[in-house]
């Protein structure tokens, strides 16, 4: 009997954890003005950081801009960027193989380009 009530309590605990607010609520009003200009002197972060963390950055950007309306990324040194793939491609699309060089080597195939227009395809 103790075990069953214990298991029920565990299930309830997990259920409450799952059902809590997952952060997709809308926060404040969005900024509807023009997007921040592209500061193409430097990337949003160092090469080493981006190589290690670009997928997490993109994942967070995707969540923030699609679901939360929070489109402005502020770097630690105070520069503003639009949270969009276009921010990256705005500079990096010069190289048609920008993403693919490394991804092909690492044999990682993210599905971004099923929808988003890759540097290889875009008219730039």
């Amino acid at each position: 009997m103790i075990m069953i009530s214990g298991i029920v309590a565990l299930v309830l605990l997990i259920a409450i954890t799952l059902f809590r607010d997952d952060g997709s609520t809308q926060t404040g009003p969005s900024e509807l003005g023009p997007a921040a200009p592209v500061d193409s002197s430097m990337c949003i972060a160092s090469k080493e950081y981006m190589q290690a963390h670009h997928m997490q950055v993109l994942d967070k950007w995707r969540h923030d801009s699609v679901r939360e309306g929070n489109r402005t990324h502020v770097t630690p040194d105070g520069r503003h960027f639009d949270k969009s793939l276009q921010t990256c491609l705005g500079c990096h699309a010069n190289n048609r193989f920008f993403c693919f060089m490394c991804h092909q080597y690492a044999n990682v195939k993210p599905t971004c380009w099923n929808c988003h227009l890759s540097p290889m395809e875009s008219s730039k």
Binding site: I4, L18, F19, D22, S24
Partner: protein, 383 residues
């Protein structure tokens, strides 16, 4: 105990072989669908749910109908049902499994199915349906298997099975109510936007499910010599008959409200299905077949002299299952989409791929049912 499913006579293996052939063909069709997309089916922009969801809706009902044997036996101590309860529970497991396979087959992105659990959405009926259906399958499988295992060992079933079985009783009602709520809360689909949809679902489920159970009992008698008992069969027949009466009564009330009130949005879908609308009537013959077969079957089931004869009983049960399968599948699902929100009529033609996948999933369900029942029958006949 599962090893009991691996022993059988020639007829058993021939049946399994047939099912495997159908499953392989279904898998190959599903492979085609996975690589080309759902465009290989007959569904389109206007009729966005078709054969797969129709099967799902029908089978949720069959799964829920197990309660019609579980409740009398466990809650009301009707000992006559002692042999048929496990058949009902395993039918529920097989039907619930088929439901989930049909949902998976119908999804545009099946690889993302876990998103339903990753991002729980309590306002969505589909979310709840996924949860309750999985829960119901587990409930019936675990409790049925445990009770069967205890019987095999000749001991009393563990006490926790009682708790699970009692839980499965309201749960059975809930799975089909939630499924009805999928449809009954959508403001734009007037065939579905009726409070009577949930009761209608339950009535048709209990009618078709019990009819299937009766038919199964004949199959088990013929193939394995397993007799569920005349009393069980007769009690089940009476339940089936009254559920059938309730089903057609509720259909009648739908007709009354639609046509007496004369409100176009209430009438149009029923009109299209049964009489045709603006010169279109793709399903009229099928719906009348369903209605007349169903009414005839229920009439047969209500006459004690006829329903006690095997061949009339089999005919009536088969007719009722066919009738409800057409009504709940084609009639309800496809009919719900027509006329479209822009008041148009579109044709629905299921494709070979779509039918192949459907038959394949039915075969998987039947194979699961065959194996589970083989175990059940072997255990129950061991003494």
């Amino acid at each position: 105990m599962i090893e009991k499913a691996l022993k059988g006579n020639r007829a058993y293996w021939a049946w399994v072989a047939l099912l495997l052939v159908l499953i392989v063909s279904g898998l190959s069709a599903w492979g085609r669908q996975l690589s080309l997309g759902l465009g290989v089916t007959g569904m389109g922009r206007d009729i966005s749910w078709g054969l797969y969801i129709a099967q799902f809706t029908f089978l949720v009902g069959v799964a829920a109908s197990a309660v019609m044997v579980v409740m009398p036996y466990y809650l009301h101590n009707q000992k006559a049902f002692s042999k048929i309860v496990i058949v009902g529970e395993f039918l529920a497991v097989s039907a619930a499994a088929m439901c989930m396979l049909f949902i998976l087959a119908d999804m545009g992105k099946p690889q993302r199915v876990l998103n339903v659990l990753r991002y729980p959405s309590p306002h969505s009926m589909v979310f709840w349906d996924v949860i309750v259906l999985n829960g119901y399958l587990m409930l019936n499988l675990v409790s049925g298997w445990a009770v069967l295992g205890a019987e095999k060992k000749g001991v009393a079933a563990p006490s926790w099975t009682k708790a699970l079985i009692y839980l499965s009783i309201p749960w059975a009602f809930s799975i089909h109510t939630v499924t009805a709520f999928l449809y009954a809360g959508l403001p734009g689909r007037h065939l579905w936007l009726t409070a009577v949809l949930a009761p209608r679902f339950l009535a048709s489920a209990f009618a078709a499910g019990t009819a299937l159970l009766i038919l199964l009992s004949f199959v088990l008698q013929k193939s394995a010599g397993f007799d569920v008992g005349k009393e069980a069969r007769m009690k089940l027949t009476v339940i089936c008959a009254y559920a059938g009466v309730a089903n057609f009564f509720l259909l009648g009330t739908e007709f009354f409200t639609a046509f007496y009130s004369n409100v176009p949005s209430h009438m149009h879908s029923l009109q299209y299905l049964f009489f045709g609308l603006d010169g279109h009537g793709q399903f009229v013959p099928l719906m009348w077949l369903s209605l007349l077969t169903g009414l005839g079957s229920v009439a047969l089931l209500l006459v004690p002299r006829l329903r006690s004869q095997s061949r009339w009983l089999i005919a009536a049960c088969s007719g009722l299952v066919l009738s409800i399968w057409i009504d709940k599948g084609v009639g309800l699902i496809i009919g719900g989409f027509l006329p479209t929100p822009l008041d148009e009529i579109v044709l629905y033609m299921p494709t070979l791929t779509e039918i192949s996948v459907t038959v394949g999933i039915w075969a998987i369900g039947l194979l699961l049912l065959t194996m589970l029942l083989k175990v059940a029958v072997t255990v129950k006949m061991q003494d």
